[in-house]
């Protein structure tokens, strides 16, 4: 057990977030192993997104610790410092830079020295160009590399953002509803992609699409009213009565998706 503790890439201990008296998250603990693909589910207002906000530094927890790599407490760090440590975040609504071209979006997201001086001297070398080109191909936007990103469709923006995050090469990827607004085909593709990524990086996905969760989840964490409700494999979770109850006690899966969408 002790050995196992050390290998966790991310460990949240008794995290509580208090928004002026409203406890969005209450004493939530969870650990993420290296190379794990974890799904975070739960009804609306369960505190899933807030949990991601805590991990990426957007929200500071009132109580509790978040350890990155087993030793660095990131609750005292600023957002850009956390990002530099290797935690990438994809938001619910695609947030790309609309007036930059697709290529430029990827260029500035790419892992690199982020100081002003480095940015002034930065020149695209052949290797970097290749990496961006490869990423463009993967997200299927090579034809639109010099489009303003603001002109992309919703799905393309989602892909661009995923591409930006991959070039950032974080050790942990935090994804908030990555397949929202995607077609079935795109959803499938995203799932495969997440699986591939999880061979080298760790991923936390907040998702409402139960079909998607069932297809791709190995381990699921269920949150309810800011607390941990259940953790385990998808079958375990589906069999759990309390989980069924919080999802309105109706037919477990289909309604789970609808009740929170």
């Amino acid at each position: 057990m002790k050995m196992g503790m050390e290998s966790a890439i991310l460990q949240c201990d008794e995290v509580t977030v208090d928004f002026d008296g409203f406890k969005a998250v209450q004493g939530m603990s969870f650990r993420l192993e290296r190379g794990e693909l974890r799904f975070l589910i739960g009804p609306n207002g369960a505190g899933k997104t807030t949990m991601l906000d805590v991990i990426c530094g957007k929200v500071k927890p009132t109580v509790g610790k978040v350890l990155f790599g087993g030793k660095i407490d990131i609750t005292r760090k600023k957002e850009h410092q956390i990002a530099e440590l290797g935690i990438g975040r994809k938001f619910q609504t695609p947030s790309i830079f609309p007036t930059l071209t697709v290529f430029e979006n990827l260029e500035i997201a790419m892992r690199q020295n982020r100081s002003v001086l480095a940015a002034l001297r930065a020149k695209l070398n052949a290797e970097e160009q290749e990496r961006i080109a490869a990423q463009l191909e993967m997200i299927g936007l090579q034809e639109k590399a010099y489009w303003r990103a603001g002109g992309l469709s919703h799905g393309e923006k989602q892909w661009l953002e995923i591409g930006m995050m991959l070039l950032q090469e974080p050790e942990i990827l935090l994804l908030d509803e990555p397949v929202a607004g995607m077609t079935d085909n795109e959803t499938e593709k995203t799932g495969e992609l997440l699986r591939t990524i999880s061979q080298t990086q760790s991923i936390v996905v907040v998702e409402h699409d139960m079909e998607f969760v069932r297809n791709f989840a190995s381990k699921v964490t269920v949150m309810h009213e800011g607390r941990l409700l259940k953790e385990g494999s998808m079958e375990d979770v589906q069999r759990d009565d309390r989980v069924a109850e919080v999802y309105l006690g109706k037919r477990r899966d289909a309604d789970a998706g609808r009740s929170t969408a």
Binding site: T101, E107, A119, R148, G151
Partner: protein
């Protein structure tokens, strides 16, 4: 994008730049001394506009306090000129105010090198300090803009109040020589004009380098979504501070040139109205394009002087009409027009087209 070296567009662009540079350098051949002096002043204003565009057009931060930075540059140069003109005696206005010795902070300004450096570095430093306390604390949008207005009021009040040290409302004037040459002579004016042209080109090249570099892309990214930039791992506050500081330094440089052309600097030239006027140059010319900003400063000031000469009673109405026309019909400023031509010529899609940006003035 990276491999095309001499595409037709690039050749056109190069031809345009060359033509503009030649026209500027040869202006003494076809302009009277009076007009040349006016143009020199406008070119100095164009330098302010470039700096403002960097912070407003590219970074999305509206500063209504650039008059202060411009003024500080102007005062630095005026202090040197005044000390030169006083020839070792106390400057006249200090005498009138009852000072008996030169204040310590005036002393270093007897060196041209110091005055010149201070004219750029003081505004840059002030901007850096202001930026440190605002951007780091995520004060932005209108709140930042209001703070810059406060800076103007504080500075103007200070300069007016400390008459013995700053010349008060009258400002610093009454000097006529630079390096032993009369500032009023046509030869000196011509030389100063060329100096201004060189300074403007240098400022343009600097800004263009900044904007085209990855630094510039991060600035635009900050304009688009400051928070997102943070989650990629950049610290936007540092980028904003640097951009604001460079912008202020350019305004300082312009202020120095302005004093050489006009021969006076006073608090009224760094007040609220001039500060807002500077922003208008950029808005009318086209924010988010360097050429647009610089042209805006030159055209607007030219229009102002032509209108006020020809229609001394009605010129303000013409200026007002001009603003209305641009705001209503050219939301991207005058430079937006070029964007439209380019679009027609190249048949590019809307998504690729143009550099002009239109977005709410204050976020």
């Amino acid at each position: 994008m990276h491999k095309r070296l001499m595409s037709p567009q690039r050749l056109w662009l190069l031809a345009g730049y060359t033509a503009a540079a030649v026209a500027l350098f040869c202006a003494p051949l076809y302009l009277s001394d009076f007009r040349l002096n006016l143009l020199a002043k406008f070119l100095a204003f164009a330098i302010v506009a470039l700096g403002l565009d960097l912070i407003w057009g590219y970074t999305g931060i509206l500063s209504l306090g650039h008059g202060v930075f411009f003024g500080l540059g102007g005062y630095a140069m005026a202090m040197y000129l005044k000390l030169e003109a006083s020839g070792g005696r106390l400057p006249d206005f200090m005498d009138w105010s009852g000072l008996t010795a030169l204040p310590w902070f005036w002393k270093p300004f007897s060196s041209f090198g110091f005055a010149f450096a201070a004219g750029i570095l003081l505004p840059a430093l002030l901007a850096l300090v202001l930026g440190y306390f605002t951007f780091r604390n995520r004060i932005r949008g209108v709140y930042f803009t209001i703070l810059t207005q406060a800076l103007v009021i504080i500075t103007v009040t200070l300069f007016i109040g400390q008459q013995a040290y700053t010349g008060g409302t009258n400002g610093v004037t009454g000097y006529g020589k630079l390096f032993g040459q009369s500032l009023a002579s046509p030869e000196t004016k011509q030389t100063l004009y060329w100096v201004t042209v060189v300074a403007l080109i240098a400022a343009y090249v600097l800004c263009r380098f900044l904007v085209k570099s990855r630094f510039g892309k991060v600035l635009r990214a900050i304009r688009d979504g400051e928070n997102r930039v943070r989650f990629i791992g950049y610290n936007p506050a540092v980028y904003q501070m640097v951009a604001f500081s460079i912008s202020a330094g350019l305004a300082g440089l312009a202020g120095m040139l302005f004093v050489l052309h006009v021969g006076i600097i006073s608090p009224s030239m760094m007040g609220i109205v001039p500060s807002i006027e500077m922003v208008l140059w950029v808005a009318i010319g086209g924010r988010g394009t360097l050429v647009g900003a610089a042209l805006g400063a030159i055209l607007l000031n030219s229009a102002k002087s032509v209108f006020s000469e020809s229609y001394p009673d009605a010129w303000l109405f013409f200026m007002g009409a001009l603003f209305v026309i641009v705001v209503v019909f050219l939301p991207k400023g005058a430079a937006g027009l070029f964007g439209q031509f380019k679009w027609l010529r190249k048949g590019r899609t809307v998504h690729e087209d143009g550099d002009g940006v239109s977005y709410p003035a204050v976020r």
